[in-house]
């Protein structure tokens, strides 16, 4: 409750300054309820509120993009009765996360070409095929690309349908962004586009930093930076715990 009231207060103050900004000729201003998402030990996902003000007519589209990563897509084939990963294609620069929200259905806001150009909608995310796989037939590449997006959607990391944007008195807008627990750490980008008559007339972007904090972060860093000591520590903990268990239940 307290966190909500604080973010509401923040919202109000920012909106007041947003009005001031639009008064000075900026058509679009936007901000986030927070720019930092902490993955703590009790992390089950996060909600971030994006809000802003717009001057003039048009449609608003909000796009959240996660940090890029390399993803390999594998296709199973039945070999000797069992399903085996047979063909693979590697994609580079795939955002770990992608969410979109809009005031109207995307097809009514812009033509497919424009959406593809601006990478609006999960199917329009630009991904690069690794050099080794570029010679593959276009049809195969398209199938694998579609499989990549479908799997990301099933994991809850790519949005299927655009989320809703609430608009107040044709000026103020807000939308909630849900980050799932399996999100990657790194820098995310929240972009807001103002579309007018089918083309983006203005856009603003702002970063969101997602990082692990607390005990979980320390365990992760320890495991990755000092792997050998981590391994030894894991064994020592296990031996001690096993010994403790044996001793405690000796008398029972």
């Amino acid at each position: 409750m307290r966190a909500t009231s604080i973010s509401l207060l923040l919202l109000v103050t920012t909106l007041v300054s947003a009005f001031a900004a639009t008064a000075h000729g900026q058509a679009l201003v936007a901000d986030l309820s927070r720019h930092h998402v902490a993955i703590t030990t009790g992390f089950t996902g996060a909600e971030v509120l994006m809000f802003g003000a717009v001057d003039g007519e048009g449609d608003i589209v909000v796009v959240i993009t996660g940090p890029p990563e390399d993803v390999v897509v594998r296709n199973k084939q039945r070999i000797a009765g069992i399903w085996v990963n047979a063909r693979t294609i590697r994609f580079e620069g795939v955002p770990n996360f992608y969410a979109v929200a809009s005031t109207r259905p995307l097809s009514e806001i812009a033509t497919p070409d424009v959406r593809e150009n601006q990478q609006i909608g999960a199917e329009n995310i630009a991904v690069t095929v690794s050099i080794a796989d570029r010679g593959r037939p276009a049809e195969e590449l398209a199938t694998f690309r579609a499989a990549l997006i479908r799997n990301k959607q099933n994991d809850g990391l790519f949005s299927r349908e655009p989320g809703e944007i609430t608009v107040l008195s044709n000026r103020l807008f807000r939308t909630g962004i849900h980050f799932p627990a399996n999100m990657a750490t790194g820098t995310y980008t929240a972009s807001v586009y103002l579309f007018h008559e089918g083309s983006a007339v203005q856009s603003v972007s702002t970063p969101i930093l997602v990082e692990k904090v607390g005990v979980g972060a320390e365990v992760y860093n320890f495991a990755h930076r000092q792997s050998a000591f981590y391994g030894i520590a894991a064994i020592v903990i296990a031996v001690f715990a096993g010994w403790l268990g044996g001793v405690i239940f000796r008398k029972v």
């Binding site: 703590t40 009790g42 992390f43 089950t44 996902g45 940090p67 890029p68 990563e69 390399d70 993803v71 390999v72 897509v73 594998r74 296709n75 199973k76 009765g81 069992i82 399903w83 085996v84 990963n85 620069g93 770990n96 694998f144 499989a147 990549l148 479908r150 799997n151 990301k152 099933n154 627990a181 399996n182 990657a184 790194g186 692990k212 005990v215 979980g216 365990v219 992760y220 495991a223 990755h224 792997s227 050998a228 981590y230 391994g231 030894i232 894991a234 064994i235 903990i237 296990a238 031996v239 715990a241 096993g242 010994w243 268990g245 044996g246 001793v247 405690i248 239940f249 000796r250 029972v252």
Partner: protein
Amino acid sequence: MYIYLPIAEMSVNIFLILAMGGAIGFLSGLFGVGGGFLMTPLLIFIGVPAPVAVGTEANQIVASSVSGVIAHWRRGNVDFKMGAVLLSGGIVGSSLGVLLFKFLQSLGQIDLAIKLCYVVFLGIIGGLMLVESVRTMLRARSVSARRGKLHQHNWLHGLPLKMRFRRSKLYISAILPFSIGAVVGVLSALMGVGGGFIMVPAMIYLLGMPTSVVIGTSLFQIIFVTANVTFLQAISTQTVDVLLAILLLAGAVVGAQFGSKYSVRLKGEQLRGLLAVMVIGVCVKIAYDLIVTPDDLYSIARLAVH
């Protein structure tokens, strides 16, 4: 109550993990097995990535084997010399196993390899145990079992490098226990198990060790082999989740106590028969998953973060 696992990078219900530890601990106390062959598939089933399940389970088995070996040590049921030979093979085998694991992971075939190992070895061991326990149950009804020689002599006893193992009352070639240790070591690294379910029958039927020292000696060498797997997985793949291991362990320690209390109510062959049914059950489930057409023929895996 949810907890975020730092290495598995997922959020799980803490009570689910404790309950899983408890249930598998109960079964391992009941049957006197490590339970790795049940826990690793179960972890994969709830969504833990296969490499993390295998690495973490190795870490947990270190703890449960330490717990188990204490009781056997007190009763003098550990043949340390035999254990040392088995484990020298185990260290070599498990080190090769971790390398093989990493290689298969780079090919994208690790999940398949883990599952195939499970199907083959659980199928063989479960089938043999079932036949043996049913035979014993039937024989118990007809005539009392004949006492034979301590063990049969065959070509395996003609190998060089003979060693005397006083505690096991054996004078055999060290090559044999070393090789058994090595094979089980590879499987241990690949499957995320202690390998007791293969080691114990091999010690009885191949080496001819007396049953009284088999469990204690097996547990003794499992501690070191799984510790080696834990260490190597930690440095090469960073897939050991200490938090997950501790949670599983907490449940398992408690469950095992109840399990061992119940085990005295059942006869040895009944226990083995039940265990065999369970082993075959896991084998059939994994085999079915390999054969049935998956919902999506395509899967994705993250490689590197820029």
